[in-house]
């Protein structure tokens, strides 16, 4: 899985969860950039990402994720 593929799939998940076809996530995207991304939606987002990639992100990693780039890092690492 390349980084581009990860971002493509993440983008699909973000669009579904926030029901917004215009969302384009990048390395630096954070909760501040997406209007509905609050702590509650964050939970749903993580669950949706886990479902998309079919693995669970360990607790320690969810806590330290700062932006979508770091989310992609974790996914690539877990997907090895």
């Amino acid at each position: 899985m390349t980084r581009e593929e990860v971002f493509e799939r993440l983008n699909k998940v973000f669009r579904e969860v926030f029901d917004d076809e215009d969302i384009v996530v990048g390395e630096e995207t954070t909760a501040k950039d997406i209007e509905d991304w609050d702590s509650f939606e964050h939970i749903n987002l993580v669950v949706a990402v886990e479902d998309e990639f079919s693995f669970k992100i360990p607790m320690g990693k969810v806590v330290t994720m700062k932006n979508v780039g770091e989310m992609a890092d974790i996914i690539l690492e877990l997907g090895k």
């Binding site: 998940v13 029901d19 939970i43 749903n44 669950v47 479902d51 607790m59 969810v62 806590v63």
Partner: protein, 599 residues
């Protein structure tokens, strides 16, 4: 919406909830009732609320929510709460679980000490329930407790009084004892739900420590669906009847080709046993007042021969309506509904053939069409769907099949009379029309939530509202019960009027409804006669009637005209207002029902 019917895909609902919500709200044909629901949570409840909203919308209930802050269920409910009081909930859901138990048994505890701890937890909840009931007068739904996710004592945790499994089992029983004494209190059985889902996954501590969800997020759609089923049942949106296919649904094989002697039913083969178990499951529903009907592409003689096998669990007399013919099944279903004075949407259509299911789903909107697949799983899919979720069991429910059989006898009798008036007289009808009495409050509230067709205002009432009206001197409220020589129809009509006008000389009809099971029996005229009599006795001069059209109540559009009212206004939506000035010499409108007079 198919996505929200069992078996739904929980991940899909969680991911696409915003889009699904948008689609539901865009459906203008839905005739929503609005309900205010307070969620008092002992954990995070955000996703529970979001999922509950979807399932309720799918049931035609449009909720608005009050949601307590994280773990504030007790404080929010127990202490003065202006925000919740202003919200005035129609229903309160207390979402707690074993994470909210603080006083667990210790291994060194004596029996007395453990009993104390049980009482301490029980009294905390009982205090909350009583306070809520007293302050908000609305139905309360309370989670029981799921089993703990670890067992210090291993298997002994279940049997030893020091075990948490044992403690929870006892607590749950005390919750049930409380609920058995209350009319408006319902247990949401997360103990069963978590077992069915898998306790291991349900109680995954990850979601608690990360987000303070006591229920794993992927399990939340199942919890929300379960709550929605209780709520829709409270508001009278349960299904009422099964519409059943025969070949490969009630038995294995095709009776028209294989012959009744060769179909799979009885105890001879595993497949036959499985079909028998399914028939037994259906037959059990008769106890709940759920009606069984047949909708089969078969010659009637073949259909009957299959059901007449001595080893068949269900026999022809178990069904209130049998359609075995070559008509489209959608037509059969609509016709069956009409003959039974029910709406097609009150039926659960069970057919092994996906093509037939697709046609019904397309043609008969809102009828339930469970996706059954493989006879060994029929029961599971139907049972988990919660079509008939029981929240109250009235005497009426228990004898409904009997009532429909009596109706069939009435129809036969009617055919023997040329003059309808003679037929009505031959029924020897007796009516009881009185002010509300305690024994009927539950049935009266149930009727206001269930009646759609013969209902002038379609106003819904909770039992506590009905009780308040019965006490209020500003209201005139009558129920009507009708019996005849074939049996007792129970309480079938309700009228509620509010006294108004400068001198209290006007009666404004907030509700007028009648059960369709007594259509064309003159019961509506009897209600009018008694209402007028009651109104006269308290100095009312004028009765004002209101008709608010809905998708279902066209049959009463001209009802007030029929009763001798004059139309005084109509707006663009077709809402009409009617007036009846009570004459000095009121002539009673019916003579076929003998009345037991109101006191």
């Amino acid at each position: 919406m198919k996505e929200l019917e069992y078996p739904f895909v929980p991940e899909d609902l969680l991911k696409r909830k915003k889009n699904i919500r948008k689609q539901l709200l865009a459906d203008t044909s839905a005739n929503y009732i609005d309900k205010k629901i307070a969620i008092l949570g002992g954990s995070t409840t955000n996703t529970i609320r979001q999922m509950l909203e979807l399932f309720l919308l799918n049931y035609g209930i449009r909720p608005s929510f009050y949601e307590s802050e994280y773990n504030q269920y007790y404080e929010d409910g127990m202490f003065p709460n202006p925000q919740l009081e202003a919200f005035a909930p129609d229903l309160i859901y207390i979402c707690t679980g074993n994470r909210n138990i603080s006083a667990w048994p210790h291994l060194s505890d004596s029996r007395e000490r453990i009993e104390q701890k049980l009482q301490q937890t029980m009294e905390k909840f009982r205090g909350l329930w009583e306070r809520l009931a007293h302050t908000y007068h609305c139905p309360i739904i309370q989670n029981n407790f799921e089993y703990p996710f670890f067992r210090l004592l291993g298997n002994k945790d279940a049997s030893d009084m020091h075990g948490r499994v044992n403690f929870i089992t006892t607590l749950n029983c005390r919750f049930y004892e409380y609920s058995q004494t209350q009319e408006n209190f319902y247990i949401c059985d997360i103990n069963y739900l978590s077992a069915s889902y898998g306790l291991e996954k349900w109680s995954d501590p990850y979601y608690w420590h990360m987000y303070k969800y006591a229920v794993a997020v992927p399990a939340i759609p199942f919890l929300a669906f379960n709550i929605a089923n209780i709520i829709k049942s409270i508001y009278g949106k349960n299904k009422k009847a099964f519409n059943l296919d025969l070949d490969n649904t009630l038995w294995g094989g095709i009776v028209g080709e294989d012959g009744a002697e060769n179909i799979e039913i009885g105890q001879e083969t595993p497949l036959a046993q499985t079909y028998s178990e399914f028939q037994e499951y259906l037959k059990l529903h008769k106890q709940l007042g759920i009606l069984l009907t047949i909708n089969s592409k078969n010659d009637e003689a073949n259909a009957i021969s299959g059901l007449s096998r001595p080893d068949s669990v269900l026999h022809p007399e178990d069904f209130v309506n049998i359609k075995a013919n070559w008509e489209p099944k959608s037509m059969n279903l609509v016709k069956t509904a009409r003959e039974m004075a029910l709406l097609p949407e009150s039926f659960v259509f069970v057919d092994d053939n996906p093509a037939e299911r697709a046609i019904i789903a397309e043609q008969v909107k809102w009828a339930a069409v469970p996706e059954i697949n493989g006879v060994e799983h029929y029961i599971q899919v139907i049972d988990r769907s919660g079509f008939f979720e029981v929240t109250s069991l009235s005497q009426d429910d228990l004898k409904r099949t009997e009532m429909y059989r009596e109706n069939a006898e009435r129809s036969r009798l009617q055919a023997s009379f040329e003059n309808y008036e003679d037929y009505l007289k031959s029924l020897e009808m007796k009516g009881e029309i009185r002010e509300f009495i305690p024994a009927y409050m539950s049935r009266i509230a149930q009727l206001t939530n269930k009646s759609n067709q013969f209902n002038l205002t379609t106003k819904r009432y909770s039992q506590s509202e009905i009780e308040a009206i019965a006490r209020d001197p500003e209201h005139v409220a009558l129920y009507g019960r009708l019996c005849d020589k074939f049996g007792d129809n129970g309480v079938v009509s309700i009228v509620i009027g509010r006294i108004d006008g400068r001198m209290g000389e006007e009666l404004h009809m907030e509700l007028w409804l009648m059960s369709c099971r007594v259509l064309k029996r003159r019961m509506e005229y009897a209600m009018m006669d008694e209402l007028v009599k009651k109104a006269q006795s308290i100095g009312i001069q004028k009765i004002i009637g209101y008709y608010y059209p809905t998708a279902k109540n066209a049959m009463v559009r001209d009802f007030y005209e029929l009763m001798g009212f004059t139309r005084i206004s109509e707006d663009e939506e077709g809402n009409t207002v009617w007036e009846f000035v009570i004459p000095n010499e009121y002539i009673e409108k019916q003579q076929v029902i003998e009345l037991i007079r109101s006191q």
